[in-house]
């Protein structure tokens, strides 16, 4: 047994898993509240990365230094992506709130295609280099083959985001309103909860988290293009389903499990069938736990 190798695969899986988890949170929050699979969510992640890249380009020209640029770029990405999320809900989903669920789903797919092609035309179809703004700390030199500074930042940010989100949902007034809307939208409305506002806020928070994921992974991998949201979005969706769609701890657990599965399978078996195995695993879990790892059983009331 080679422990270094095992550990590096574990860390690699944790990185992937954290990113999947950040994107999956947005899927699961939206699903929890309006039972809509927001297929355009991966595109919000991509838009976050693009916004950060543009801001970084401008600030680098202005002669700023590393860490400050990253923070400002991330803040800009969060604001911009949140605005996209809010607008998207307004124009693509709110008018369809009373329509059959399938209509909203089609609208989501359309939104995804629209955003992809919009970025492709407004920006470029080529791959763009994304600067690595997370410095390599000297104290990490001895373990550079196992874990990198950017990965540690990814773990830390993911943990922080989850903590804040849990606090928000569990202990604030808004969180209480969100939980109420998720449980029963009409009843929440009758008790004086502004449901429209809650839904808008859900989109804003989900998009902001996806944008953070976009900035982190772009900085880690070093390149972006208009299409990165598609595969990341699909994988994150799988993670959300795996963990139990609608459940926030489930999304995080699903993301991590998926990341580790892929990493270990590639490391010990073969990367040729990485995706095949990831999806087989999903099928396997859903056979034994149809509502996902942490999902609650839905009882249909007659």
């Amino acid at each position: 047994m080679n422990w270094d190798y095992l550990l590096s695969l574990f860390m690699g899986g944790l990185t992937r898993g954290s990113i999947y988890a950040l994107i999956a949170l947005g899927y699961t929050m939206v699903y929890g509240i309006i039972s809509l699979i927001n297929f355009a969510h991966g595109e919000i992640y991509m838009i976050g990365a693009f916004t950060a890249l543009i801001v970084i380009g401008v600030l680098t020209l202005a002669g700023w230094n590393g860490m400050a640029i990253l923070l400002i770029a991330a803040a800009a990405a969060v604001v911009y992506a949140a605005a996209y999320g809010w607008t998207m809900e307004r124009i693509a989903y709110r008018p369809l709130r009373r329509a059959p669920r399938l209509s909203a789903l089609i609208s989501a797919i359309g939104m995804s295609l629209f955003l992809q092609n919009y970025v492709r035309m407004a920006q470029t179809a080529n791959f763009l280099p994304f600067p690595n703004l997370i410095p390599d700390f000297a104290c990490l030199k001895p373990v550079a083959h196992i874990v990198r500074a950017s990965e540690i930042v990814i773990y830390a940010v993911t943990a922080l985001v989850m903590l804040l989100l849990t606090l928000l949902v569990k202990f604030t007034r808004m969180g209480k309103a969100m939980r109420a809307t998720a449980q029963d939208r009409e009843m929440a409305m009758l008790s004086g909860v502004d449901v429209d506002q809650v839904i808008s806020l859900t989109f804003i928070i989900g998009s902001a988290i996806a944008a953070i994921g976009g900035v982190l992974i772009a900085s880690h991998v070093g390149q972006i293009n208009f299409y990165i949201g598609f595969l990341a979005g699909i994988k994150a969706f799988v993670a959300a389903v795996l963990g139990g769609i609608g459940s926030m701890p489930g999304a995080v657990l699903g993301g991590l499990v998926l990341g580790w599965t892929e990493s270990f399978f590639t490391g010990y078996v073969s990367s040729d069938y990485e995706d095949v195995f990831a999806f087989l695993f999903l099928v396997g879990i859903l056979i034994f736990r149809p509502s996902g790892l942490l999902g609650r059983k839905q009882t249909e009331k007659v």
Binding site: G12, G222, Q223
Partner: protein
């Protein structure tokens, strides 16, 4: 049973019809030939140019027609080949095998003496048998499928482009010979191009006692990151990586390797020999090796050919233009050197006579591949690809 017989009848009729029509065109050609020689002292030499001139892949075929036209115009202005004019017969095969066979039959019927074409490997293969029956030389500027020459099935086939496995051969020779690596990791992107190259490379390494393949893996294009694969390369103890695929994945893998303090050489193909790769991978691109077509920008014939194209068509030439230019020049040269138009004499001249072309000075080997046309190894040095001599 009745149904089956009646189902076959139209097919039989069609076969008879085709056989009859081609017989008829062949006969009429023989009758027509003396008339032409009476009108002029010598009949023109007919060169067919067949390829995709319409459809999705038209951009691969049209430059060949223009290249042949430019060479022929130039030759005819200087009284052709030994006083005989050269005439072009242009046929479209849309890169479809079934249309390629028709086009081949048509140009044979029209009296073509040699063929420049076809463009796509599949279409070329479909037409070659027909040319072989008719004892006609075909020279493709672009069909890279290795089997076309290596199978030995088509002695009448020649090409002015290196075959697909030539890059893999060069990469393997470079890694084993120049870099002296013994354990090699071979990766690919699971696509036709990348996987094909990687499989050739694997075969060549296994056939060579100097090296061994320690890892052979396909990666998922567009994945969020490749750290697992990079760890696996590290774990395998590879001394060099050969990657078959395109630049987006290559730049991710190289960046992740270098960030993990892995400094082993990374050798790839002309899908990576692109300036976008250097732009995206930045500092991590430095030192990466990639094979690419031999540089022709300083070849005087190439400069002249490109200038002639710009003068006549008002734009830069397209894909395989120089390869087609070289093919036409080689064929014209073979006619001149052979002093004849019969099959055996032309084939002999192609195999023995060196000719100066935009791709360098070339001749053809026994199998029909051009000697002197091929790939060179490049390395990123100071943010640019530089050829390694």
């Amino acid at each position: 049973m009745n149904v089956r017989i009646s189902g076959r009848a139209p097919l039989m009729a069609a076969i008879f019809l085709i056989a009859f029509v081609s017989l008829w065109t062949a006969c009429s050609q023989k009758e027509g030939a003396p008339v032409a020689s009476e009108q002029k002292n010598l009949p023109p030499i007919k060169i067919a140019v067949v390829g995709s001139h319409s459809g999705d892949l038209a951009s691969y075929g049209i430059p060949s027609v223009r290249a042949a036209q430019l060479v022929v115009d130039q030759r005819n202005a200087a009284c052709g080949i030994a006083g005989r004019r050269i005439e072009l017969l242009v046929e479209d095969d849309v890169c479809k095998p079934e249309l390629a066979a028709n086009a081949a039959t048509k140009v044979i019927g029209d009296g073509a003496q040699v063929v420049v074409g076809h463009i796509c490997s599949g279409a070329t293969k479909a037409a070659l048998g027909i040319y072989k029956e008719a004892r006609l030389v075909a020279m493709s500027p672009s069909a890279t499928n290795p089997a076309l020459t290596q199978s030995g099935e088509y002695p009448n086939f020649f090409r002015t482009i290196a075959s697909d496995d030539a890059q893999a051969r060069l990469e393997v020779d470079f890694v084993l010979g120049r870099l002296k690596a013994q354990k090699i990791a071979v990766l690919h992107d699971k696509g036709d191009y990348g996987k094909g190259l990687a499989e050739f490379a694997k075969g060549f390494i296994e056939a060579d006692p100097r090296g061994a393949v320690v890892l052979f893996e396909g990666i998922t294009p567009g994945a969020v990151d490749y750290s697992a694969v990079v760890n696996k390369i590290n774990q395998s103890g590879a001394q060099a990586v050969i990657y078959g695929g395109y630049h987006p994945e290559a730049s991710k893998i190289v960046s992740q390797m270098r960030k993990k303090a892995m400094t082993i050489p990374f050798v790839s193909d002309d899908g990576v020999k692109d300036d976008t790769f250097i732009k995206v991978a930045g500092e991590f691109a430095e030192g990466v090796y990639a094979t690419g077509p031999v540089d022709t920008t300083r070849n005087p014939i190439a400069i002249e050919a490109v200038a002639a194209h710009k003068a006549k068509y008002g734009e830069d030439p397209g894909a395989f233009f120089l390869n087609a230019y070289a093919a036409t020049l080689a064929l014209v040269n073979a006619f001149e050197k052979a002093c004849a138009t019969d099959y055996d004499a032309i084939v002999k001249a192609l195999r023995s006579e060196w000719v100066a072309t935009p791709l360098g000075i070339i001749r053809f080997d026994e199998r029909g591949d051009a000697i002197g046309v091929g790939f060179a190894m490049y390395q990123v040095q100071g943010g640019k690809y530089a050829e390694i001599k």
